[in-house]
């Protein structure tokens, strides 16, 4: 495909990993797999369209298609900051903007011996605040020097001007949540009434939103997004992913495991069940490498296939 790419999936990664945690010896940026990603041309184009238009990128597709790991890889390649949040059934739209710790404030207000801190001290910025304006988020929206500053929770490139935000599994949220995000995601600004402060950005972040379509999203929300669907990876793509993860030396493992996963996936989809994902494919390879299991007919191999690819669904009788 021929066009001007702001984002080039084959480009040299520009990410800077934050300092290592002395306790674990790992950088926070290493915690999730975001350094390897196999793009289709269409997906690379979708990222570029989202960047060009400033619209959120809505990724649809089955579990394991690579929706959640895309955002971090984009940030990794672009050298942008990276924030993520996983939506749950309890998430409210405001959680992505800020939270006000009313309980702490009330507790301190009722404690006669203690001075109540300025309102800003009870503010916890959400991922969108960090993405829009990290300097303001660090200061919790206040210029008061007595308000303790917060560390930037970015997992990549802390000094970068722009950011990628992953809002994962938005379909888990209550139906009103996407609608309540329309304004901050569309205008890149929101108001914090507790502080009488408006948070806004001049460097647009890339917002990546994923959905498994377990719950229908409002049309008004979808119509504000660049939409693309990630298909379940084919055996060929799985093979490519394995080479990128484990190197080219284990072809004898990659192909048969990809082939069996493909078989299981087709059978499961026919029964309208969830097919095994890329993560399970990589787990199978790792298990075989670690345990010295060769794909074939051995009991050990059957156990790996059963444990990773034929997981029973909730409610299934495990004896059958």
């Amino acid at each position: 495909m021929n066009y001007n790419k702001q984002f080039n999936a084959a480009g040299e990664p520009k990410a800077v990993l934050p300092p290592e945690d002395p306790a674990t010896g790992r950088s926070p940026g290493d915690q999730d797999d975001g350094t390897v990603y196999i793009y289709t041309e269409e997906l690379e184009l979708a990222v570029n369209v989202a960047l060009a238009t400033g619209r959120p990128l809505l990724l649809r597709g089955p579990s394991g298609a690579g929706k959640s790991s895309l955002a971090k890889n984009v940030a990794y390649i672009l050298g942008w900051r990276y924030y993520h949040t996983v939506i749950s059934s309890r998430t409210q739209a405001q959680d992505l903007l800020w939270r006000f710790d009313n309980v702490l404030r009330l507790s301190e207000a009722l404690d006669a011996g203690k001075n109540v801190a300025p309102d800003a001290a009870y503010i916890q910025p959400g991922v969108l605040w960090w993405a829009f304006d990290p300097a303001s988020a660090k200061r919790r929206g206040s210029d008061n020097p007595t308000v303790p500053a917060l560390p930037d929770p970015t997992l990549l490139s802390p000094d970068a001007a722009r950011a990628v935000v992953l809002i994962d599994e938005i379909d888990k949220a209550d139906p009103d949540v996407p609608n309540n995000l329309l304004v901050p995601l569309g205008s890149f600004m929101f108001h914090v009434p507790e502080l009488r402060v408006t948070v806004k950005t001049v460097t647009r972040p890339l917002i990546v939103i994923t959905t498994n379509d377990e719950r229908e999203l409002p049309n008004a929300f979808i119509r504000r997004c660049v939409v693309t669907t990630l298909p379940r990876p084919t055996a060929k793509k799985l093979f490519e992913i394995a080479v990128r993860h484990f190197g080219p030396d284990r072809y004898s493992l990659y192909e048969p495991i990809a082939a069996i996963l493909e078989q299981v996936a087709v059978a499961k989809e026919r029964r309208n069940q969830h097919a095994p994902s890329t993560a399970e494919y990589l787990d199978a390879i790792a298990a075989c490498m670690e345990l010295g299991i060769v794909p074939g007919t051995s009991v050990e191999w059957e156990a790996v296939v059963s444990a990773l690819f034929n997981k029973p669904r909730t409610g299934d009788d495990p004896t059958k």
């Binding site: 495909m1 021929n2 066009y3 001007n4 790419k5 702001q6 269409e42 184009l45 979708a46 570029n48 369209v49 960047l51 060009a52 238009t53 400033g54 619209r55 649809r60 089955p62 059934s89 309890r90 409210q92 009313n102 309980v103 009330l106 009722l110 209550d174 139906p175 009103d176 329309l182 304004v183 901050p184 995601l185 569309g186 205008s187 890149f188 950005t201 001049v202 647009r204 379509d213 377990e214 719950r215 229908e216 409002p218 008004a220 979808i222 119509r223 504000r224 997004c225 660049v226 939409v227 693309t228 669907t229 309208n272």
Partner: protein
Amino acid sequence: MIRRSDATLISIGDLVRAVHELQPSPEVLPLIARMLQLDPLARVSVPKSLRRRREDVISDVAPRPRQHEISTPSEVHDKASSTVVVASKLKPKKAPRIQVVPISIEAVHDEQEEPTVTLAPPAQMVPATDEEDEPEPELLPLLDPRTLRSAIVSAVETRSLETIPDIDALTDMLIRGEVIREIPLVKFPTVRRGVQVLLDRGSGMVPFAGDADHLAAAIAALVNESSTRVLPFRTMPTWSVYDSGGGRRAYEFPPAGVPVVIISDFGMSRETLPDVRPVLADWVQLLRELRARRSSVIAFVPYEPDRWPRELLSSAVFVHWDRGASSMTIRAARARLDRR
């Protein structure tokens, strides 16, 4: 610099912006338009996977009566004894059109019988001619698609306790000098408790079968398929409901607090039958028990309010299932019941 001043829908301006920035070759342009949902042939719709699951929601339930011949369960009904032929609101799927279909009631119903409803048999249909080949206007769904989502949310949402203090209530308590022994919490509306849908497959609901399926599927899509239980029944759910294989089983109450949506005519279409009282008594009993279990009950009824059974109105929110039903009317109906 951000020029867009508000959260606007994607428009042709986005396409222009993308083309200006990306300078795509001609073959890439349609792809970009599709991603921006500006290609009229590529409007974003429910993806295939979800559509398949929606159908499963319906096929998970009892086999839907065929539109050409609908009969009530054999043990309570003798097909030969009663037949009603109707010119139905249901249309044949393709070109054939119903010519003239006389309406007749050919049997006297005894106490337990429901009539067999038969649509015009194929012999009475004539193939459409060429000049008649123009597409027939689609029947409008009973609920307005533009407000369907908010209407469903209003019907099935419950209040859940969250961990956010209710500042207004707290302030009020402090002003009045009350001792705060328990922090009042904000109650958010939520659909996370799931929902049980009682879907009437009785003969009186045949004209609304497509709409009922659509409504049940829309509820499942919005609330989440895994927490939506669709239980089809005929006449009365507590007599039996259908399982996914089409067999019958006993009705089970939902867990306490889970809302129940009933899509039914509550026997109103059978008012000509000798006695609908026993069914009504069972409905009264069911609604009372659901209320005792703190399940809110919303009934979508395809008939006018003046026909609704008065005995049930104090135990459930009745919604006239037509184009006028909206989030606002449903919330108002719920508030009216709460005030009773």
